[in-house]
Structures are given as structure tokens and as C-alpha cells.
């Protein structure tokens, strides 16, 4: 690989499938074993955007995740969907990370990879749901970013022309190297073919530990010890009390109208 090739890094978070994951109402905990890991839905859009740009400009797409060892299959899926290389940061010392420590680990891994022209993240994750990791990574790497990108209009090796949902939709230019976070509207992720899946099965996922990043990072800033925010309590919110009057049959609509009139809602 020569150095003037275009390098894209996609940050992918392995998350539980929200349709399947169970929550323990009593204990207020998430039963993470109740659902298998998959690529965070918004990161599928990020990966697709990266692959489309690579198809135009050439170069290489590297997927990077910080997750437990079980996430290796998720990174294989990323390879099946077009990533050329996959790196999994996995180590007990990464565990318990909040967004700052997560961003620090990911930014360190990107430094370790060496050259990068463009970093693409999802808008947010379905579990953490902060949307903070992208801009924090950009800040740590000292590069500009544009969040909430809904459309990529033009790409060259020097800059990107995008539409972003910041306030009114803006047409914006981003100088590279830079970072974008994309929403679901940016594209329709393609499905991997059977052939791609088979190929990905044999592909190698590089696994990095905290020590592997020691030359580019301060390992004490990883994981729980590097996390300034801490969850003191988790609650499964009690559902708002509802009247739960569900009408069936012949006069159901009349009953509904009557009820809404009583509420003073039909005026």
C-alpha cells in the first residue's frame, strides 16, 4: 500500500439487537446475554458511506471497534460488507469506559494505524445513544468534524461536500483529514452477498490489547479508571399511567369519540 492511497477509518460499535434485548425491571439491569451482538444500525450507514467513497477514490477501509472478544463476528460482518481490514480493541482494561474513555481508546487506535484521511462514525449508538464519540475522537485527533451528515454530495482526496442537519440543513465543506458522523438518511446499506460472507469467514480480525496502544497512549485513561462519568443507578422507567380503554366492535368508534369529547379534545 502506498502512502498516497486514501485511508478511511469506520468506527463500528457492536451492540445488542434492541428488538431482542431484555431488561430486568426489578433490578434495573440490562441482560446483555439476552441478545446477540450486531453492528450498530447507524454504523451500517457509516460503513456503506466509506465503501462507496473507496469505490470512487480507491484506497482502503479499516473498521475499528472497542468491544468484548465476542464481537469478532461483528467485525467479520463488517468485512463482508466491504471493509478491507478490521481491528478489535479488546481488553479488561478497556471495560467500563464512558464516552471520553471510549473516544480516547479509539483515537489512540487510529493514531496507531498511522495515516488516515477520513473517519466516519454513526450518528449515535442504540445502547449508549450519546452521539458524543465522533466529535470527541475528532477533538482528540485535532481534526475538524461535521456531525449529522444526511448527504455526501462530492468527495475528493482533499475535501468533502456534505449536507448536515445542524440547525437548518446546511451545505458544508470539510477539509481532510476530517471526521463525519452520518444519519440513516445518508444511504441504504447494501446486504453482503453469500460470497462476501464466505470470504469474510476466513478473514483475519486484528485484536489489540491496551498494551498494544502503550506507545501512542496513556493506558490509565482507558476504561473505567479513565471515565469521569459514572452510572450510579439504572432504572427501567415505569410506564406513564394510561387509561387503557380499548374499544372493540360495532360502537367502538362512537365510544372513542365520546371519550375524546369528555377529555375536551374534540373542539
Amino acid at each position: 500500500m502506498t502512502d498516497n492511497e486514501f485511508h478511511i477509518v469506520v468506527l463500528i460499535k457492536p451492540v445488542p439487537d434492541m428488538e431482542k434485548v431484555r431488561f430486568d425491571v426489578e433490578k434495573g439491569v440490562v441482560d446483555r446475554s439476552s441478545a446477540p451482538l450486531e453492528i450498530n444500525p447507524f454504523d451500517l450507514n457509516a460503513l456503506e458511506a466509506a465503501v462507496q467513497i473507496k469505490e470512487k477514490l480507491g484506497g482502503e477501509v479499516t473498521a475499528v471497534s472497542m468491544a468484548p472478544p465476542a464481537a469478532e463476528s461483528v467485525l467479520r460482518d463488517a468485512i463482508a460488507r466491504g471493509a478491507d481490514r478490521a481491528v478489535l480493541l479488546t481488553d479488561r482494561r478497556f471495560a467500563g469506559a464512558d464516552t471520553l474513555a471510549t473516544s480516547y481508546a479509539l483515537a489512540s487506535a487510529i493514531r496507531k494505524l498511522g495515516r488516515f484521511n477520513l473517519i466516519i462514525c454513526g450518528e449515535k449508538t442504540v445502547d449508549g445513544d450519546t452521539g458524543q464519540v465522533g466529535p470527541e475522537v475528532a477533538e482528540m485527533l485535532g481534526i475538524p468534524h461535521i456531525a449529522y451528515v444526511t448527504e455526501i454530495r462530492e468527495v475528493t482526496k482533499e475535501k468533502l461536500l456534505v449536507v448536515s442537519e445542524l440547525g437548518a440543513p446546511y451545505l458544508m465543506e470539510l477539509k481532510l483529514p476530517g471526521l463525519i458522523t452520518v444519519t440513516k438518511d445518508v444511504n441504504k446499506p447494501r446486504l453482503p452477498t453469500l460470497k462476501d460472507k464466505l470470504k469474510a469467514r476466513k478473514a483475519k480480525v486484528e485484536v489489540w490489547s491496551a498494551d498494544d496502544l502503550a506507545d501512542v497512549a496513556d493506558v490509565s485513561r482507558f476504561g473505567f479508571s479513565g471515565s469521569p462519568t459514572q452510572v450510579v443507578k439504572v432504572l427501567v422507567p415505569p410506564m406513564k399511567k394510561r387509561r387503557s380503554q380499548i374499544f372493540k366492535g360495532e360502537d367502538a368508534v362512537d365510544k372513542l369519540i365520546e371519550a375524546l369529547e369528555m377529555e375536551g379534545l374534540l373542539r
Partner: protein
């Protein structure tokens, strides 16, 4: 310290809500409430921040700050925070706020909690930040060990105080740090027919139970009779039946109207995340086991094509009589 978000010199209303909560926290902690605003020719607006509760307002006024620039904004706010050392920094969880706050937090190497829906003080006067996670399925209570404690707060969870034009405060002009080229540029605005479903008092939302895009007209008629707007579930946006500013849910808009009517919507967790705090929820669905009925105050198990015309008729009749 409250970050005042402005667009074209107009202050985003979430700012006033944050000032109100900030005032309450500052009074209980017996500290000062400050606010910071960046822009161009915004001195008049700065006064508003005092009317809504700030003791002190820091202004960064410069042509380069007219439009939002994450790096320029970040640099000036970071140096202000380093000088003033506020204990808590509140920023609206708007797209702009959620793009700016993480850059500031990373630069200061401090904790940031996103998209809070409540802020409390514990016995030690420390801030407890409450936020939904896991697509709205859980609420997490979060504390921050570092200073400042940084938080983005959702629009419309706190009530703004009454504007008091007699309130006095101090306005302090700060010197603006200018960077020639930050790497991002706004080239223009994309004109878009803007529907703001988040502010509507009534939302009539259609889902995949509708057969044709044209059938949304029926919902529009009902919505306009009720003085509301039409929203949709995500599949209708994906199919191109409606624009994405009408989408309700996790990847769309959060709504909290007086009346939410879900028509042919099953009630997936991602949809509920956007509407479950509505005051009154009405559901119309053929499937009695649809999860939307679990959050409904009133519901009709039936075919929407038979149900919807009836209230439309009824209201029309009534309006004719008046």
C-alpha cells in the same frame, strides 16, 4: 454556565429552559449563574439571557462567529471555562449542542452526559444527571467526577421562567480568538419546507397500516380539524411517502403533544422512544395485540379506513353548526 444557542441572532428556546434550571441549581448551591453567547451583533440578545435568569453574560461578538463553527466556538468557550471555572456547564441537546459539547468536553478532558431529561442535586450538592439509554428502555442516573460537570439537556423538559425585563445583570465582552481556517465551512442553507412536529399540540401519526401515500391526506384532514400536524413512523419516510421532519421516534423527532393519535402503527420500541411521554395517546389498529395499545389511553381495535372517517365527519358537522 449556560451556553446560549443562537441562529441568525435568534436565541433557541432551549436556552431559556436551561437558564431556568440553572437558576434553580445556582440558588440551591448559592453560586452565580453565568451564560455565554457567541455570534455577531448579538448585544441586544445578550440582555435577554439576563431577563431569563443569568447573573452574568459573556459575549463573544465577531463576524467569524455569525454562523456556527465547532472549532471556533469550542476554542473561545474552552478558554472562558478555563478562566471562569464554572462547576456545571449546560448545553441544549440540539444537533448544534450535541456537535459542540463533546469537542469542549474532550478538550477539557472532562465528563459529558448526553441528552438529559432531568437534573437533580444529591445530599452533597453534586449533580445527578438523568438520561434515557438503550433506545429509551432504561433511565441512567449519572455523576461526574471531573470539573466542570458537562451536560446536554433535551429541549422541552424544563419550563422557562417568565421573562423579567427588570432583572439586572452584568454583560462582559470577551476578546475573540480567531482562527483563519478551521477546516469546515458553511456554504449555504438548503431550503426545506419545515414542519415542526415537536412543537405541535396534536399529532396524528400514520404507519405501515396505510396502504397508499395518498391515504395520508385522510390523516391530514383529521389533523387539521384537530389543530395539529401529521407525523409518521419510520417506514413511511424510508418509502419516501413523507419527509423526515415528520418522523416520530428514536431516529426521528421526539414529540410530547396533548394528543397523539397513532394510526396503523404497531408501537416498536424505536417508535415509542419518540412519543411515549405524550399526554393522551389514542391508538387505532386492527391487531388487538399491537404493543401500541400498552401505552394508549384510548384505542379502537379496527380498520383505520373505517374508523378515521367517523371523527372527521363528526367534527365537521359540529363546525358547521357553529
Amino acid at each position: 454556565m449556560v451556553f446560549a444557542e443562537q441562529h441568525n441572532g435568534k436565541i433557541h428556546p432551549v436556552t431559556f429552559e436551561l437558564l431556568s434550571k440553572g437558576r434553580e441549581l445556582a440558588d440551591r448551591k448559592e453560586v452565580e449563574l453565568s451564560s455565554v453567547i457567541l455570534g455577531h451583533q448579538i448585544r441586544e440578545e445578550a440582555k435577554e439571557l439576563i431577563y431569563y435568569g443569568a447573573d452574568k453574560v459573556f459575549i463573544f461578538d465577531h463576524p467569524t462567529l455569525k454562523e456556527f463553527d465547532s472549532i471556533l466556538y469550542k476554542q473561545n468557550i474552552v478558554s472562558l471555562i478555563r478562566e471562569e471555572k464554572p462547576e456545571i456547564v449546560l448545553i441544549g441537546a440540539t444537533h448544534l449542542g450535541r456537535s459542540l459539547a463533546p469537542r469542549i468536553a474532550a478538550a477539557l478532558n472532562t465528563g459529558l452526559t448526553a441528552d438529559c431529561i432531568d437534573l437533580q442535586l444529591d445530599e452533597d450538592g453534586e449533580l445527578i444527571q438523568v438520561r434515557p439509554a438503550f433506545t429509551g428502555n432504561i433511565l441512567a442516573y449519572i455523576k461526574t467526577k471531573t470539573k466542570p460537570v458537562m451536560t446536554t439537556v433535551r429541549y422541552k423538559v424544563f419550563k422557562a421562567r417568565e421573562r423579567d425585563p427588570m432583572r439586572k445583570g452584568e454583560i462582559i465582552e470577551k476578546e475573540v480568538k480567531v482562527v483563519e481556517d478551521t477546516g469546515t465551512k458553511i456554504l449555504g442553507k438548503i431550503p426545506r419546507e419545515a414542519v415542526n412536529i415537536s412543537d405541535a399540540g396534536v399529532v396524528v401519526a400514520g404507519g405501515r397500516g396505510l396502504r397508499r401515500p395518498d391515504d395520508l391526506k385522510m390523516l391530514e384532514e383529521l389533523a387539521s380539524l384537530l389543530g395539529g400536524v401529521v407525523g409518521v413512523s419510520r417506514p413511511l419516510v424510508d418509502e419516501g411517502w413523507a419527509s423526515k421532519d415528520r418522523q416520530v421516534g428514536f431516529s426521528g423527532n421526539i414529540v410530547k403533544p396533548k394528543l397523539y393519535v397513532a394510526v396503523g402503527i404497531s408501537g416498536s420500541p424505536q417508535h415509542l422512544a419518540g412519543m411515549k411521554d405524550s399526554e393522551i395517546v389514542v391508538a387505532i389498529n386492527v391487531d388487538p395485540s399491537a404493543p401500541i395499545f400498552n401505552v394508549a389511553d384510548y384505542g379502537v381495535v379496527g380498520d383505520l379506513y373505517e374508523v378515521i372517517p367517523k371523527p372527521i365527519e363528526k367534527i365537521k358537522l359540529r363546525k358547521m353548526k357553529l
